[in-house]
Symmetry: C2
């Protein structure tokens, strides 16, 4: 089949040990020898067999990004973006990346052990059990975009509180006093954070939020639109609605249009995530931009640190940015 180190050894006239060293630790072989080895390798189309190398080294340099979600679409825009960033980073550091959804590996930690995965980046709503299971098997773990109270693992989080603060600040500065929030049932952690932040920040700004101005709905546009209609039909209609993410906000805009309310004149709408849809809507949706790329980079960076036996911060918060557009 493929040429092996023996073929290169024979053709170049040096031992296999030298060939091996030429590839994995070039400084250990004399310049002239190295050249001979590489020439022979070139001729034979030899590339080191990563499997055999892993076997001998007792290290695989293999890591995984596990997305834990129950929803239909696992690779949504948000995680796809983090994913891409992790892909890029893992590549730069010569790690082999395996991407998977937790539901796919029926026995995730077993599969990971079997496949000799040395570190895992957990995205989404992984359970505490999953984390500790990995840790107990000596697998490095970093968690992205989720927080498990009492679980000691490095977290990479987006600044949810700060994002909500920017939203409320912005709306308040535009003179809104009656702001509603429409939350959707997606990631419990994220929704919880945004919801609590909303309550706390509005209070801080001296805005009172009545109970009927905070609603919960399912995480699809239509549910959001229906919930938003109720919200906007109240006698004391809110002048601004904050959707817990862009899909929800899009639902709010639909509702507004159905009720013949103008956005932003009659009701301002804000979303969260700054996904691609924001600029496709008319008016364009004001939203909080999450730095997914940075989150991926940090996840990877921390995992690399753990694998190298170094320490890394237990919580890293990535700043967000408010993108003001036509909807406010």
């Amino acid at each position: 089949m493929n040429p092996t180190i023996y073929d290169v050894s024979r053709l170049s006239g040096v031992s296999t040990a030298t060939v091996s060293r030429a590839f994995s630790d070039p400084d250990k072989v004399r310049e002239s020898t190295r050249r001979k080895v590489f020439e022979a390798a070139e001729v034979l189309h030899y590339y080191p067999n990563a499997i055999a190398r892993a076997m001998a080294r007792q290290r695989t340099d293999k890591i995984a990004f596990l997305i834990c979600k129950k929803d239909a679409t696992i690779l949504d825009e948000f995680y796809a973006s983090i994913c891409e960033s992790i892909m890029k980073e893992s590549n730069r550091s010569d790690y082999q990346l395996v991407i998977s959804t937790a539901s796919d590996w029926n026995q995730t930690p077993n599969t990971a052990q079997s496949r000799q995965i040395e570190g895992v980046i957990l995205g989404g709503s992984a359970s505490a059990d999953l984390v500790t299971e990995f840790q107990s098997r000596n697998t490095a773990v970093v968690m992205v975009n989720n927080r498990l109270p009492g679980v000691d693992v490095p977290y990479v989080l987006s600044d949810e509180y700060g994002g909500v603060r920017l939203v409320v600040e912005h709306l308040a500065s535009r003179g809104h006093k009656n702001i509603a929030m429409l939350a959707g049932r997606f990631s419990p952690y994220i929704v919880g954070e945004r919801y609590n932040a909303f309550l706390s920040v509005t209070k801080e700004f001296g805005l009172k939020v009545s109970a009927q101005n905070v609603k919960m709905c399912d995480a699809d546009v239509e549910s959001a639109a229906q919930a938003a209609e109720e919200l906007l039909r109240q006698k004391n209609r809110p002048t601004a609605v904050f959707g817990a993410n862009d899909v929800i906000a899009a639902g709010v805009m639909k509702a507004a249009r159905r009720l013949k309310l103008r956005v932003p004149e009659d009701v301002a709408v804000v979303g969260f995530d700054d996904s691609a849809v924001c600029t496709m809507l008319e008016p364009e949706l004001t939203s909080v931009h999450i730095n997914c790329q940075r989150m991926g980079e940090l996840g990877m960076e921390h995992l690399r640190a753990l694998l190298a036996g170094e320490t890394c911060p237990s919580v890293t918060v990535v700043p967000v940015e408010l993108k003001v557009r036509g909807s406010t």
Copy 2:
């Protein structure tokens, strides 16, 4: 470190060969022995080391999904969806899936050889060279959503022509005689297919399409919106615009709104891909639904066939479906 087959062998009192067989070919060991082995494995938390197994077997069962794109966002909704489907399928058949963008592996086929990847699903605009390079190294290749004239490789394609036909048919049945198309510069293959199909189908339906009713623009909303404005400002304004994908169509809707044209009364709009944004727009966007899941399944199925030494169809076309919504 981790327990090995020797530990299990010792604890269960059988040879390593038997332990190995119990795990990889259970029918070859007596029921009672098998139980002993599994019990010992359980106690030791033993799981077969996939690396060592690959080494001994000379097979890795490793495959890759390579997305070849130049755009900023590699994992867009479309590919993410195919990806998810491939993930699911590969898992069912115990393949190890590596997902990557071609740009990530600086020397893709070398890396693949080094990592002992046995088969590749190529998505997007891969080059003919890439395909033949893989094939010359005995790596099975299947191509999804792209076609390279003269390159012999199994193709899994969506029915672009059929989709466009559904669109034109639909618009014609609604009485539209003056239909425009706005194409964007994304995948050359896809745009080409949709564009040619549009010209050919409109001709078939006896609709004449003037040159200024077919425009090209960049693949983002704003470019599309600007191009669409020109389209809609003509004295002989088209009554329907077909966007080559949903992003373009969203741009058309934005343009319509800017020009105070009502959708669908003044101008009907149709997209392609049936992405999530369709239902977020108001009115909702009529679009052609592509069965990404099926495309992923077929890609995987064909790759599996190739790896098993079986044959598979050289071109498979996946049917599409028109989702009629408020925009027409």
